[in-house]
Symmetry: C2
Subunit: 213 residues, 2 copies
DNA sequence: TATAATCAACTAAATAGTTAATTAGTCAGG
DNA sequence: CCTGACTAATTAACTATTTAGTTGATTATA
């Protein structure tokens, strides 16, 4: 019953702005997103954006912080259900894959951010990213101590996992388009679903971590 | 001696514009690169850019086509020195790694392009990218036929290789910064050089392609 | 009635692209 | 070896549009 069909509500307005901003920033990037277009999309006056988020950069920070928090929470929650490093690793990869697929703005935003070395990266976002990597890194380290993983360079493996997943998501339209061409014949996995891909990555990462004798 | 200290030369001017454009596009992205800034950087009048490249998009196409051609030529040239799939695969990864490291604009431009699903991707660039992947894919296929590779999904493996290498290059400054922090302790490979990384990736990719029994 | 939320209308700067004039190089004919 | 005409390269100054951000008034609500 509460909240008689939303009239004036700061929280609702803020959320509206953020969700529209997620859409635009992830599709067009930071620079190509105009505050006029954003205000039209969310149906509020442009001044509201500056009223709540001070300026464009402030809005971007709010967007990134929300998006990173979402994925971090998802992964941490799933992680707590497991205790063996190998299960944790699988859970990490699988959860990230699922999330990235159902929230495709995440890979788009992350890759954009990483491709210009955090030119506009706010400190908070930087911390979140390090925390996420720290968890991954820790899983591998504990696995090595227990003897179930060998020869890991966490940073490289991390990029193998999230780099690949992010690219598989963001390039979906391109891969579809490529599969329809017949001048160069390649299998671009246009019909693979995310579960297959995640399973394959999990299998291969585990194979990499086995003793290579 | 020739060319008495370069005065009026279309080719020189075009090259000047392109190399400045590579710098700006790769650092700031397409949208954030202004033609005024570009003209200042290359020391030519802004109208020259439009005289030679018609418009901003035309310049971008010229830039991307040159960059993609460079890497393609490098890889093809090295590829021809080998005949066994395993050597070809190593050569592909190693050459890409070396090139990406010495021409860091390539990873930046590529990741930006892939992160928005080719929103501004010209047809020619799309072809080049498919050709490069086709070579990689073909190496794996021939390897499988000969029995030296097993269980490959070329698209995923391709992104594992170039995704990881591109990210290792573009995130260098971020990884350096992270390694100086001590609130969250992680090894970000801040001191790894590209050869180590390439060797590790080669080793791991080969391990993945071994029979998993 | 006080305050928080909303808006229309504005500003100043930056932007991609244009135009018309001006150079500099080339090359044929004297 | 000039000269002048032709062309290609270059320029300054301009336009029209878009941009982030502001302001001061106006609502709604508690």
């Amino acid at each position: 019953m509460s909240k008689k069909i939303q009239k004036r509500d700061a929280e609702v307005s803020k959320a509206l702005i953020i969700s529209s901003a997620i859409e635009l920033f992830s599709q067009k990037g930071y620079a190509s997103t105009s505050m006029d277009e954003l205000s039209k999309l969310c149906g509020l006056n442009k001044a509201m954006v500056f009223y709540y988020f001070k300026n464009k950069k402030g809005l971007y920070e709010a967007v990134m912080s929300q998006v990173l928090n979402e994925i971090q929470k998802s992964i941490l929650k799933e992680n707590q259900k497991h205790s063996k490093p190998i299960d944790e690793l699988e859970s990490f990869i699988y959860t990230y894959a699922k999330f990235a697929c159902s929230h495709p703005y995440l890979p788009a935003l992350l890759l954009k951010e990483l491709s210009d070395s955090g030119a506009i990266m706010p400190e908070k976002l930087f911390s979140s990213m390090r925390e996420l990597f720290a968890l991954f890194s820790d899983i591998l380290k504990r696995g090595e101590e227990k003897g179930c993983f060998q020869d890991s360079i966490p940073m490289v493996l991390y990029f193998m996992v999230i780099g690949t997943l992010n690219l598989m998501v963001t390039t979906k339209p391109l891969r579809d388009k490529a599969s329809q061409k017949d001048d160069i014949v390649v299998d671009t996995c246009a019909n693979c679903d995310i579960d297959e891909i995640a399973d394959y990555i999990i299998k291969k990462i585990e194979q990499m971590l086995k003793d290579n004798k």
